[in-house]
């Protein structure tokens, strides 16, 4: 039986939900248990302690995060990736708030920091390799090394992720589309410049 795993997943969802809605600071095992419809004792039965729960939430969230980079590796479409990023904000409005909360607290919880560092580095590597392909094929400017570009793009998204929960009203669909287009413009080779573009 994956019964145990199913229950754990259920608790992870509950925890993520509480983090998104109440903030990491106000997240307690009690509230998680309540949202999952069980007792506090039950939570500590499935997770040795709060730290373990938070780390498990983080891992599961990064799984979803990485999935956003999955693409036709032959012809990566950066715009599509950014649009997928954007789609998350409407399809799963709790996703970015949770990530934002976890990242911000990582510094003060070493075990959590370790997990995030590893996963985030891997994520950035994937992004860098996508961008490198993009550069080789033409649609991505190649006057900046791919790994630096990946860092910048990741930072850009982190910045959006950070502000999005704070000023949701500022992110109207139109504005978001404009921001996305601008981001694409930033990383696209300028028309006048020619570089050996792929097929």
């Amino acid at each position: 039986m994956g019964d145990r795993e199913a229950k754990r997943a259920e608790l992870l969802e509950a925890a993520a939900s509480v983090i998104a809605q109440e903030g990491y600071t106000h997240t307690s095992l009690r509230k998680v248990a309540q949202r999952a419809g069980c007792t506090t004792g039950s939570v500590t039965y499935y997770f040795a302690n709060k730290e373990e729960l938070v780390i498990a939430v983080t891992e599961s969230r990064f799984d979803g995060f990485d999935a956003m980079l999955e693409t036709d590796q032959g012809r990566p479409d950066i715009k599509a990736i950014l649009e997928r990023w954007l789609a998350r904000t409407t399809n799963d409005p709790e996703f970015w708030p949770v990530m934002s909360q976890l990242l911000t607290h990582a510094r003060y919880e070493p075990a959590l920091a370790t997990v995030i560092e590893q996963r985030y580095a891997r994520h950035r590597d994937s992004l860098a390799s996508l961008l490198a392909t993009g550069q080789a094929q033409g649609p991505v400017r190649d006057d900046i090394p791919a790994d630096l570009l990946a860092d910048q793009l990741a930072a850009l998204c982190d910045g959006w992720m950070m502000m999005l929960p704070i000023e949701p009203d500022r992110f109207t669909p139109d504005r978001v589309q404009a921001l996305l287009d601008a981001a694409i413009t930033l990383i696209t080779p300028s028309p006048g410049t020619s570089s050996t573009s792929g097929g």
Copy 2:
């Protein structure tokens, strides 16, 4: 006198220090008092409650934040601004961690959110106007509206601010310089493109 103000400022520094070193979640009036070398009662004597203290910290931090945009208005130098941003990370290593903590928690403390929204919006406006001048004078690409470019640049910095406390080791001086140069490259008109540059 100004004695009262001096003491308040002292407590604000203590509070910021605790926030930076222990994280917002683990910041308590007790710890702030301890760091300031006084009692909890003393803190609540100068600040009606924790919320008021946190908001005061935020205001004072934004004052320093805004100061980073102060420039020779005639010829804004974006690179200098980014370098000043960077200088903060070494001169006052607690600055960005504090900002990051405050921003992330704003969502869950309405009064704090209000303050941040206003100050942050003002900050972005200043940045946008600097960029607009830069566009008119030439050194900033003008194929993206200044306000969008400001949003992007702000998001970029927010992203750095968020990751910097988590992965300090990744931000070696060399790498930071490279990131900074890349950011400049991103917002600089491409060589081949000509736009009416101001005098």
Copy 3:
């Protein structure tokens, strides 16, 4: 089983005891816990907060209060009721002090006020109906409507209840008996007056 209820009852007794001996003002969860031989956390485990505890104490006390009016409904004996009232002062010397404290504080705790208003009104109604029966059967004067008489009798007892904890020495057994007799005299038809007395 019923374990939880038993523990709650135990805490209610402890709380009542503290209220009686230290006064409502100086009653704290700590003291209640201490008297019950457990920790503060234990108290808040059984009662969500102080208000809930106080209200539970009130309800349980009113149960005992109402019981004092239980009587052979066919032939209510007002004197016996008053004597039962009196007996409380010796059998359960904390009873009236607790009631007095609760009533006095009700005004400043809306939730408590609501409970007391309802229960007290019901109590007065019971008393009024007893008095009405007494009037119909003869032993109670009928030149004053039963509900007014009930209000007066209730006020009289409230007044005693209020002074009893303050001046216990003034309430010697003899004096109390005299007061009780006088109260009976007040509500008894005067000898010379004839009214259709019931069988």
Copy 4:
């Protein structure tokens, strides 16, 4: 200069007002100072400590209380006294709540208890002597000793005083008049009974 006395009186009024509106439990020197428009330090300058302040409030309140019994000693009019009692509830709506709060807390503050015992006893004596005169002159029933009657009347009023702040809505003018009439009826000789009435 009675300057000091004037300031003290001002503080006493402020204290009484706070007690009436917030309840004894929630009365703090801070609030009293605030209502009087001065600092906490100022209050402790005029009164050594909280206890002294409360006792001074009590004394001043009993002065007003005693005044209610002042009457044409030749022909005391009990009904007029009760009506004066009643008038207080409308003219000075904070009077009875304050008395009620003070009395209820007396038990737990020995110094306060002493003051109240003395003043209250004196008050009851005055009332008893008025009733004795009333008995001699006829309008008061004389089948109950005057001192017992005084105790009952005092208890009756205490009971009203206690409930009045809790259930103000129940004390409509009509109802109060009816209660007052009923009280008079209770202590008036019954028509059929003859006793040697004074001229």
